[in-house]
Amino acid sequence: MNILVCMKQVPQKDAPLKLNEAGNWIREDVSYEVNEPDAYALEEALRQKEKHGGEVVVITSGPARAQQVLREALAKGADRAIHLEDSVFVGLDALNTARAFAAAIKDEKFDLIFTGLQSDDYGYAQTGVILAELLSWPHATIIMQIEKNEGGIRVKRELEAGFFQFVDMALPAVLTIQSGINKLRYATLIGIKQAKNKPLRKVAMAEVQSAISENLQKIERLYIPQKTKKTEMIEGSAGEIAKKLVDKLRNEVRVL
């Protein structure tokens, strides 16, 4: 099976974020990491390849820094990478990101496309499903298991409140992958070495420009959320904090 994995570079989970001057995006001088569900999507693609053969290709969009997620993926075992390189891609809405990806892979032939179920920055949870619609492929979301069978694949969807559902699908298909579907591997030293010689195709904005439009939705303003609750800070040494908390538990919360 030939599998494309869509990956995204996002700010590190505990990175302090600052707003830019226009107040519509963050300042880019933060540390980045791979979007966590995308790491699980990659791992699942590598496992499918180990079972059934084929090729794993990773794709991302963003400025030069985004190449890091592709390098890491290649080091873990992906065969080649596609980088839509331009800082403009960071500001695209989900529809335009999916359009750009579809344009960049128009001459490729995949059996499956994986994305993480959502990104830790925008959190749209839309790009994978939109990509499926643009390609006229079937899709399934929030996937916890993938088994190949005669007609195609059987996937396990996570539903809400502890419910699940198996779905039989024909290929090609798009799947959005849930975190925790597998155990992530680390890149090996030899993998890191080999990654340097693996092909990485760069796609310039000009090559996909005709496929995209102005964004259909616009971020007017980004800001630190207003507090809805009055929060009391408990400060002091660890011992003092413990004493203060117990006082609250006894006299305010009344659970002691």
Partner: protein, 331 residues
């Protein structure tokens, strides 16, 4: 004809999903603000009873959008059926709850109609004539005001808990209900869904716990969970966790709090090393008192905490266990 707001409610397994009432509350508020007409629709096969249930609320009209092909749920049938219905009714604004099911078909539907969905919103504002929808970004660290830059219909999904379902207003008299049969051609549905099932009997029902000590990534290693367990035991509470902890297999899945785990509202929720991603917060924000311990002063968990401790949980928890034990022994 005035503009229309259409709320698409969700039914599953013969029941109306409760979050549907929240979306209806949002629809009523938006209708009051804009002066637009509020209508509702429910999709499925044999869903007239749900339409009648909705019709008791303050809405102008309720549609039962019917096709035998809408059961069981598939994204192909739902997108095709709703597209047909929306194209015939031409609502200006289409509101839905941000459920796993809606996430599964709305991006497809909006794309098929050449439109976009502003997903997982927590509120709205009106800026002159412009409608603005607020959504969380960067795992809840920042909020964004987002507007549509395309023609209607505009699709919006609201986060679980964004509006009060119990505040939905009843109608003076029952709203008219109309059945609309949509045609879904053979071959449209490609996926073959099997029966919905539950993995295992839940060993622990966290929804009944009065005190919950919950851990997140900040616990660092599996062996450190023992520390949190000791605190839970000292307090007479249950141990729970955010998703990454259960994903790592450090605690069983039935200890998970959040959108894919359990939703709880205990007297005390003590969050240790939990940053407070949206997916976790929706599962515990109804707690009576929230105490959060986190070394990152900007962690979103502090936004909803009653008591905040910015610090290392490994410094704070050991003396806290001792103080709790002392307090218990003395009482």
């Amino acid at each position: 004809m005035p503009d229309t707001i259409l709320v698409v409610v969700e039914q599953r397994e013969g029941k109306l999903n409760r979050v549907s009432w929240e979306t209806l509350t949002a629809g009523q508020a938006l209708a009051a603000e804009t002066g637009w007409t509020l209508e509702a629709a429910v999709l499925g096969s044999g869903v007239l009873n749900f339409a009648n249930e909705i019709a008791a609320k303050r809405v102008s009209k309720v549609y039962a959008v019917e096709s035998p092909k809408l059961e069981p749920y598939t994204p192909d049938a739902f997108a095709a059926g709703l597209k047909q219905f929306i194209e015939s009714k031409q609502p200006k604004l289409v509101l839905m709850p941000h459920t796993y099911q809606v996430r599964d078909f709305v991006p497809k539907l909006a794309t098929a109609m050449g439109r976009t969905a502003i997903s997982d919103c927590i509120g709205y504002k009106k800026d002159g004539a412009k409608l603005i929808f607020t959504r969380q970004m960067f795992q809840g660290k920042l909020a964004a005001d987002v507007s549509f830059a395309c023609d209607a219909p505009w699709f919006v999904t609201f986060q679980n808990g964004a509006f009060r379902g119990d505040k939905v207003e009843a109608g003076v008299s029952a709203a008219p209900v109309e059945t609309v049969n949509v045609q879904i051609a053979d071959g449209v549905i490609r996926n073959k869904p099997q029966e919905v099932f539950k993995e295992a009997k839940q060993a622990v029902d966290l929804t009944q716990a009065e005190i919950i000590v919950s851990i997140g990534r900040g616990i660092k290693e599996q062996k450190n969970i023992e520390l949190a367990r000791q605190l839970a035991d000292a307090l007479g509470g249950e141990l729970a966790a955010s998703r990454p902890i259960c994903d790592s297999g450090w605690l069983p899945m039935d200890r998970q709090i959040g959108s894919s785990g359990q939703t709880v509202a205990p007297k005390l929720y003590l969050a240790l090393g939990i940053s407070g991603a949206i997916q976790h917060i929706v599962g515990m924000k109804g707690s009576r008192t929230i105490i959060a311990v986190n070394k990152d002063s900007e962690a979103p968990i502090f936004e909803i905490a009653d008591y905040a401790v910015v610090g290392n949980l490994f410094d704070i928890v050991p003396p806290l266990i001792e103080e709790v034990k002392k307090a218990k022994a003395g009482s």
